[in-house]
Amino acid sequence: MTAVLQDDDRTTTATGAEPAPPGRPRPPGARLRRHLGRQWQLWALMAPAIAFTLVFAYVPMYGLQLAFRRFDFEAGLTGGEWVGLFYFEQFFSSPQFWPLLRNTAVISVSTLVGGFIAPIVLALLINQVVGRRRKRFTQTATYLPHFISIVVVVGMLQVFLSPSNGLVTQLLERVGITGVNFLGDPSSFVPVYVISEVWQHCGWNSIIYLAALASVDTQLYEAARIDGANRWQIIRNVDLPALVPTMVVLFILNMGGVLATGFEKIFLMQNTLNLPVSEVIATYVYKIGIVGNQFSYATAIGLFNTVVNFAFLLVANSVAKRVSSTSLW
């Protein structure tokens, strides 16, 4: 998931390499024809992927103009009359704006922090385990929840946290804590959301850190030990520095999602009691647009969200480039 976008190997290999361009001018289109003569098969292999991406990713981007036009049922994706920033102004001045922004930011930043730290700690712990089978078992167990569907995870939250007969509620009653309602109490929405996210994805997200730790030269450990370092010091001075490049890249990618909360889980966890803290931009767009049929307004809100995320991604990337010379591109 790291510097995947880089393509640092620009050299062409001997196979199929173009010969040096000839000196005299050629008729227009000749280069294209030569290129296709050699590489049309590669284009053919790419064609379905290009077609699907054009239709299902770039056509909707073209449809973003809907945010600046009044929706017209006949015109569909390209919209009707041009209204400029009307819908953006409507959103910024609506009473929903600040609560939505705050809820979205609180949930995603909390998830970002918890979801960022937990896998690092887990990877450092698993890396300390001696014995392949114990290590393997720990990994298998902690990756497992990643594959459970969101609907099931939220279903489990509801049966465990149910205020009348949930397992957690009952166990708390036994130790004398009564009257908790983790599902209805607005102040527990974010903790429940973040903890269940960490429960589900922490193990899976630790894989990439474990890979980085596996590449640490064991001589470094031995050298550190000879210098008298204890285990904590070895983690701090050998293991952690080995994780920094991975941490930076993942941090940048996470910054691109600073206002991107998972729609499905929040939507499923919403109820009338927690709605003041659980209504986020993504769920609001769904309700305004799909349920309420205000297509242009919902598109504008969605575009606002996408642009903020994209801006955060660009800023984080350029800061990281300057500070640590690690970046996405």
Partner: protein, 318 residues
């Protein structure tokens, strides 16, 4: 990024503990540390697995014992009431059938679109590859959003058909990048050169050489796509109105979250909770969680090394 090569899986490395053990020098501090690691990881594993285990035992235990907190580690009052109800519930099996259809058809399309493209992108002599990589990667960070997608599907006539489950998600860029990294770094270039000297075309090299040599990565990508289809809830919620087309996850939501537990629509004590009917409703819910998650959970330990491989390949530079 300076992570490892795909071959350096975490398990294969000895790690610092083993390196230190080889030095036969365990101070009291080291032993305390090892104890701390053991306790912490045991707690983590317990916290991860216990909720799943509890759902499993609660699904076969007497509901009143579950409700009064007497079922904690092992099933008590074993009965199959919940599963009998579930097996008699047509909604669940309809959802299962739909999801299986979407997953199989969808994954087939995914593979046909992703793998050839990944191979083409892995060829260094492909002039357009840098531009095309940007063309794909850009869509990871910027998109049209919900409403333009919805209107596009409406205009294409995909709404309320099975195609909306399989066509818009035909290409996952992340999987494309993983597969491309594998083709580029794990297939020996000499094989290509030899094949091209013998006059083979790209198509021939791809079908006769690349595919047979790439079974590990093909399994990884296949499994990623299958799991994604299996767990897809959003598509059914937003783009499908017809109840007969709904996938398993939407049926699950009705049962687990909207509390429409009994097929007849009686509703477990009307959602008041704690009532006699609700006890049985909860048992059915536990059973439904198991029935819907079982395929993934049972297969998973056997396939885990493949899933993991996908993440590792994806993390390699390039």
């Amino acid at each position: 990024m300076t992570t490892s090569t795909p071959s350096a899986t975490p398990t294969r490395s000895a790690g610092p503990a083993a390196a230190l053990r080889r030095m036969r020098h365990q101070s009291p501090g080291d032993l305390a540390f090892a104890a701390f690691v053991g306790v912490a990881l045991t707690a983590v594993v317990f916290a991860t697995l216990y909720p799943i285990w509890f759902v499993a035992i609660a699904s076969v235990s007497a509901p009143d014992l579950v409700q009064s907190g007497q079922v904690l580690l092992f099933p008590r009052g074993v009965n199959s009431f919940g599963y009998e109800q579930i097996f008699a519930d047509a909604r669940i099996w309809q959802g299962y059938r739909n999801t299986l259809t979407y997953a199989v058809v969808g994954t087939a399309i995914n593979m046909l679109v992703t793998i050839p493209a990944a191979y083409a992108l892995s060829r260094r002599e492909f002039r357009a590859r840098r531009v095309l990589i940007f063309f794909f990667a850009f869509t990871m960070f910027f998109n049209g959003g919900l409403i333009p997608n919805y209107l596009l599907y409406r205009d294409l006539g995909l709404l309320n058909t099975m195609w909306v489950f399989v066509l818009p998600t035909a290409l996952n860029v992340y999987n494309l990048i993983i597969a491309r990294a594998f083709f580029e770094h794990s297939l020996p270039e000499e094989l290509h050169e030899a094949a091209f000297i013998d006059g083979a075309s790209y198509f021939q090299v791809f079908t006769r050489m690349v595919i047979p040599l790439s079974k590990p990565i093909l399994s990884v990508i296949l499994l990623y796509y299958l799991v994604a289809h299996w767990n897809d809830f959003f598509t059914g919620l937003v783009f499908i109105r017809d109840a007969d087309l709904q996938p398993l996850q939407v049926v699950l939501r009705d049962i687990l979250l909207s509390n429409n537990v009994f097929a007849g629509g009686a509703g477990g004590a009307g959602g008041t909770g704690g009532g006699y009917g609700q006890q049985f409703a909860d048992q059915i819910k536990y059973g439904v969680i198991i029935v819907s998650t079982l395929p993934v959970v049972v297969l998973y330990p056997f396939l885990q090394k493949y899933f993991e491989k996908g993440v590792l390949i994806g993390s390699v530079k390039g």
